[in-house]
Amino acid sequence: MKADSNKFPELNKTKFENRGKEFKLGIPVTNAITIGNSVAVGFGDGTVRIFRSGQISEVIKAHSGVVLSISKDGEDILTGGDDGRFLKISLDGEINEIANFGSRWVDHVTAYNGSLVCTSGNIVYLWMPNKKEPKLLEHESTIGGVAFDSKGRRLAVSRYGGVTLWKKDYSNKWSSSNLIWKGSHNKVIFSTDDRFLVTSMQENQLHFWRLKDKTDSFMSGYGAKVKSFAFVYDSKFLVTSGSNEAICWPFDGNGPEGRKPICLPYVGNKLVTFVEPFPNENAIFTGLSDGSVFLSEIEKSINTIIIRSFTQSEVTAIAVTEDCSSILIGDIGGNILWTSIWDEEEK
């Protein structure tokens, strides 16, 4: 046999790939959201597809450009697009336009118990349950991200210069306070126990605030922008992309200040582009720039298994169904793997 250096070696497929379904759609996957045991996926051509029991839905022609953001409200999908539309889509594919901002993009969407939020430019539009007209929360600069806390009483809005923290009192009035840190803040999340707020920045670093005393600090050392980060189920760790390892910061006790993160290395030494916590475990799925995906236990990284081998396209979405039975992986090249997490006999 003669080696051909121009060809990629034929890698054996993983057992997850062998028992799952692969879809080569050729359209960039921009985001995904779990709704029960279904996963809704947004694409770079404005379409949404729903994956359920290994089956792919009819194409839902939601937006004319890119699905920029995705979230859920109960059983419904929420999407924001670069066609300026904010949509609510049922799992049956029925589209309901909530707002249309024309040539202004809808950058971020989220919801809590029927309260719907989208952002366009520097304004948060907030629809309280069953209200037709939104409340407008204006900010000094374009909004980088938006997140409700676990009780829906606080809404964090990241922007240039810090985070505006909106708080709802018992008469449903919203008032704001500011968490200040120089620079441009992008995505924002609360820890699952609501004790911390974390933002990613334009610089290759994250910033966090401990909310009880508003102390803050940063997490740096990344080789790239941190685009994907999330807390594991009990907030013991914040898992982050942006390096050639998955960087897991300890957030138990008083948080990560003065402590070292756990760094999980992967074969190939590629950039980690997406992280998704495994529900109810100190474990994460890690997606890399070459399309490969691994599952690791954070404190026992020896227990790392490969879920998907490489596709040459960076991983842009990972979603696990609510019953933890299945996982969906999507990448910028439009390759999707939908597979069961457990062997039949492991169940």
């Binding site: 920029l68 040539s103 600069s141 240039y160 620079g183 334009q202």
Partner: protein, 324 residues
């Protein structure tokens, strides 16, 4: 990542209100059949733009937290360019129209500083549309007009039918004094061949060698201190690399706010390669660009465009870099 890695060229259109930016933009869009363009406009646009893909921008200028005092970027551009790169249909080019009063530096710096933007797009050229009738007054009255000329790779001198020859010459001299390496194109109603303003690859170091900008040493009259002017230097004696790096990095660190643009081709003692660089304020792109061509004289040429250049002892600093 294969084809997703192809960099989409971005052309920046600057110019004062009324100079003819939107006329030029509509000309580009109607003449380029079969090409897919995204146009990023500001909210103060003069008239309608006829394109499928028009994005409203807010011209938000952000300071970077990277210790570089004059390093500002356009936050809205980072967001919009990243969003456009997620599209399923690939764009042939992106055109960014700035407001009349915008400083082009943050736009240019965005392409140096943001890794995602640099990976997926490239700054093709800065095209400044100038009104032949009003440019002289605008240059005297507004810093921004000077900056737009200083940063330009191409100056489209528009409405030349409305001025006589002597006035046209005076305006051209004024432009040359500010920016000796901008190409000046005369137009009425922005009538220009699109090949002269699109796909120029003006920020590619190779292009600096190809275009051989006007590096003639300029003796220059004393201007008002805050006028934008240019100074250039030529040396037939090879330079000492260590001395040059030391001088030049200190110069940019301390005077980077006043130095708008720099370009140079350098001959270092003991090195076989030509070194080419270009900079925007403190940010610099530099690289060896292959051997000196046979039969061509080796020398070092350097151009500065900026304010208060007289106070920086540039000539003395450059002379001190010559190898012994």
């Amino acid at each position: 990542m294969g084809e997703t890695n192809k960099q989409v060229p971005v052309t920046v259109l600057t110019g004062f209100l009324g100079a003819g930016k939107t006329t030029l933009l509509n000309r580009i869009l109607t003449e380029q059949h079969g090409k897919k363009y995204a146009v990023i406009v500001n909210e103060f646009g003069e008239q309608g733009i006829d394109n499928d893909l028009v994005v409203d921008a807010d011209e938000e200028v952000f300071e970077m937290n990277n210790g570089c005092i004059c390093c500002t970027v356009r936050g809205d551009l980072i967001r919009i360019l990243s969003g456009l790169m997620k599209r399923a249909d690939k764009l042939d080019a992106i055109i960014v129209e700035t407001t009349g009063l915008a400083d082009p530096a943050p736009v240019a710096q965005t392409f140096f500083v943001d890794q995602d933007v640099a990976d997926r797009t490239k700054l093709d050229a800065i095209v400044t549309v100038a009104d032949a009738v009003h440019l002289s007054t605008q240059l005297s009255d507004h810093h921004e007009a000077e900056e737009q000329v200083a940063f330009a790779d191409v100056v489209l001198l528009n409405k030349i039918d409305l001025v006589d020859e002597s006035r046209l010459d005076a305006v051209k001299d004024r432009i040359k004094k500010i920016n000796p390496f901008a190409k000046i194109i005369h137009t009425t109603k922005c009538g220009v061949s699109l090949s002269e303003i699109l796909n120029l690859d003006a920020f590619n170091l190779k292009r600096i060698l190809d275009t051989e900008p006007d590096f003639l040493t300029s003796d220059h009259d004393h201007e008002h201190d805050d006028d934008v002017t240019s100074l250039s230097f030529v040396s037939d004696t090879p330079l000492d690399m260590e001395k040059f790096q030391d001088w030049f990095s200190k110069l940019l660190q301390t005077k980077g706010q006043d130095i708008l643009r720099t370009k140079g081709i350098l001959d270092f003692k003991g090195e076989n390669d030509r070194y080419v660089f270009q900079g925007v304020h403190m940010l610099m792109d530099a690289s060896p660009m292959g051997k000196w061509p046979e039969g061509k004289e080796r020398n070092s040429r350097l151009v500065f465009i900026g304010r208060n250049l007289e106070s920086m002892n540039l000539k003395e600093g450059f002379e001190n870099c010559k190898s012994a």
